[in-house]
Amino acid sequence: MTDREQRAAVLPGGVAAGAPARDGVPATRDGVAAAPRTIEIGYGGNERLMMNMGPQHPSAHGVFRAILTLEGETVVAVDAVIGYLHRCHEKLGETLTYVQYPTIASKTDYVAAMTAELAYVAAVEKVGKVEVPKRAQYLRVLVAELQRIASHCLWLGTWCMDMGGALGGGATIFLYCMREREAILDLFEALTGARLLYGFHQVGGTRYDLPAGWTEKCRATIDVVERRIDEYEAMLEDNAFFLVRTRGVGVISRELAQEVGVSGPLIRGSGVAYDIRRHEPYSSYEDFQFTVPVETAGDCHARYRVRMQEFRQSIRIVRQVLDGLPEGPISSRPGVKSVGQVRIPKGEGYARVEGARGEVGCYIVADGGPKPYRMKWRGASFSNLAVLPHIIPGHKVADVVAIMGSVDPVFGEVDR
């Protein structure tokens, strides 16, 4: 808040009518109760405190500013300010060619980079009607599911750390989850050479094939991870402390979920059985058997249950892929030899994938050259965050952290 706002917040009378509330943004917003910018210390005791859960905060999951209006300990309104991580991805999509951009695409959702790259590459292939060989499709499914496991490990660790303190039980679960995530990242390192931002996909297939001995290592790692998930559930499942923090907190009703446009575990935790892998299968997902976990309660605990079950389903899919991986080329196009190699004829299209956080989508308008004319990125977390002003008011400050963790935003996706 600027100095002016801070003074206005403590003086009766408040900000002059019609003046912008902060940084040039108008004071009211449709649909969401605009927080009064004054403290009315009156007979009714309507005393409100505006607190900044600022961009630098241990549990902001990135750079996110939430201006909370508090009445005592209860949050009355939330104003979300984003854009601290804006890096002009969509403009980069116009200046970089189809062979260059996949490595950049992974930096939107940097926690689940494989699905981010997949969204871009799938969109380009859709517009250009490029075939992807079967082996490449299976490899894409393999890495996407491994990435989902790794991303959910990070989610569980950071969420428990937010709720339990960096010096406390939360940190314990965080380190256990990191231990498992490191094992999966070692797998990715053996496959691509990089741990976090892979550049694995290219238009027409994938860039890397499985090295020798990788399948055995993968199976061993998956077995270990599956056993450890049992341990996490033992630590959290019936834990009364955990349950009181998450049951009934941050309830997204079914109608709200569909209206605001959340996706992924958020909408599946609210009773809508929508999974892009099931409803619009891409990259041979129809060949695999898995169940789509759905919970109806809509609170943080339901989303937690959905993600824990997704762990197991992803492990199931990985095993099926490893068992049924066909031989063949990993790309329908020769390897990248020059920067303008891939030219996509005129057209436009949108491809969506089920990322760890929800629907990640990419809309490409191609004009026949080596670069898209326009690229629009639908980040899952951007739409998921839109639900916060609806569900947070009424809860306590401590619940804000629990809710944000269960929404699991990654700000690379939000701000692009």
Binding site: L49, M51, H57, P58, S59, E73, C160, M161, D162, M163, G164, G165, A166, L167, G168, G169, G170, A171, T172, I173, L175, Y176, R179, M235, N239, F241, F242, V244, R245, K396, V397, A398, D399, V400, V401
Partner: protein, 326 residues
């Protein structure tokens, strides 16, 4: 008179040394529970010099005082916080005759003085002129006051069983095989469990550490302190932690009683206090925290009635002749 001064000086230094190294113990213990190593390189190979390095760092840090803070309150808060935390050690006897002031109302003095830290805490939160600090100080006052009552009642169970508030008498009443009060059927165990839970809350340890809640309020009332003042607050916290561990070992685990010659007594005492401390640490590193209204609900709706009933049951047992009265 000088004898007392010298003894007090020695005791103070001993406490500070033990407190410093107990932070290292906690860090190593927590690290092993989290599949990692903990402090290692400083004082290779197991981080023996890490606490010294931390203390030096805090002493050399610049003391940043926020401009709009309430000067007197802000500067006095660490001292007001620290003094009760160190004063409680005065009443603890480390061996049958080795105690600074083995008052015959020892337990009462301990419990009363240890509750005074809340004043220093609130002064810190208020004087910092920081919304986060204030929020956390308000939560702290709520929480510590709520949990002092079950703490007192749980600590009173051994007192009732012994019939005296003098700490050495309580230890003397635990002589004999299986004499420790924690082994006293039903009442002893329940009282010990209640004591540990109340300690967790009185010490702002997870799951009751809503006071600091690093991920929300980033260090709570301590957030505006740096350098030596922060060191004093840390010292006070861990000293209080150690003090209640000593009290727990004394009330429930038999104090200095143990096999071997009499001079081994203080060693046993220290070991038992460390066991209580590690128990509390183990709980701390296993759970997520709960919200402040849930903390208060546990205290008023669960723990307080339970400890009251427990105390009445103890009184009944003693009246029926089961006490270990001195």
């Amino acid at each position: 008179m000088t004898g007392h001064l010298v003894a007090a000086f020695v005791l103070l230094n001993a406490i500070i040394l033990v407190v410093t190294y107990i932070t290292l113990l906690e860090r190593k213990f927590a690290a092993r529970m989290q599949s990692r190593v903990g402090p290692y390189y400083v004082g290779w190979p197991h981080g023996w010099l890490q606490p010294i390095a931390d203390a030096l760092k805090l002493m050399l840090k610049e003391d940043v005082v926020p401009a709009p803070s309430d000067r007197w309150v802000y500067n006095l808060a660490p001292v007001v916080f620290l003094v009760p935390c160190l004063l409680i050690f005065a009443t603890i006897p480390f061996a049958p005759d080795l105690g600074l002031a083995d008052l015959n109302i020892g337990v009462l003095f301990f419990l009363a003085v240890s509750a005074l830290e809340i004043v220093g805490l609130f002064m810190g939160g208020w004087g910092s002129n920081n919304k986060y600090a204030l929020l956390s100080a308000m939560r702290a006052v709520n929480q510590i006051i709520s949990y002092d009552l079950p703490f007192i009642f749980a600590a009173l169970v051994p007192v009732v069983l012994t019939g005296s508030m003098q700490m050495s008498a309580i230890v003397a009443a635990q002589e004999g095989l299986g004499g420790w009060f924690v082994l006293y059927p039903v009442i002893g165990q329940l009282a010990f469990v209640a004591f540990v839970i109340a300690t967790l809350a009185a010490e702002n340890r997870v799951p009751f550490d809503i006071l600091e809640a690093e991920s929300e309020l980033v260090a709570g009332f301590r957030v505006e302190y740096s350098g030596m003042k922060f060191a004093l607050i840390q010292l006070g916290e861990y000293a209080h932690m150690l003090g209640t561990s000593f009290l727990g070992a004394l009330l429930f685990l038999g104090g200095w009683l143990g096999p071997g010659p009499a001079w081994l007594g203080p060693v046993w005492f220290l070991l038992k206090a460390v066991v209580v401390f590690l128990l509390v640490t183990w709980v701390r590193w296993s759970f997520v925290r709960i919200r402040v209204d849930q903390i208060l609900a546990i205290s008023w709706k669960l723990l307080l009635p339970a400890t009251v009933v427990l105390l009445m049951a103890t009184a009944l047992v003693v009246a029926l002749g089961g006490g270990r009265g001195a």
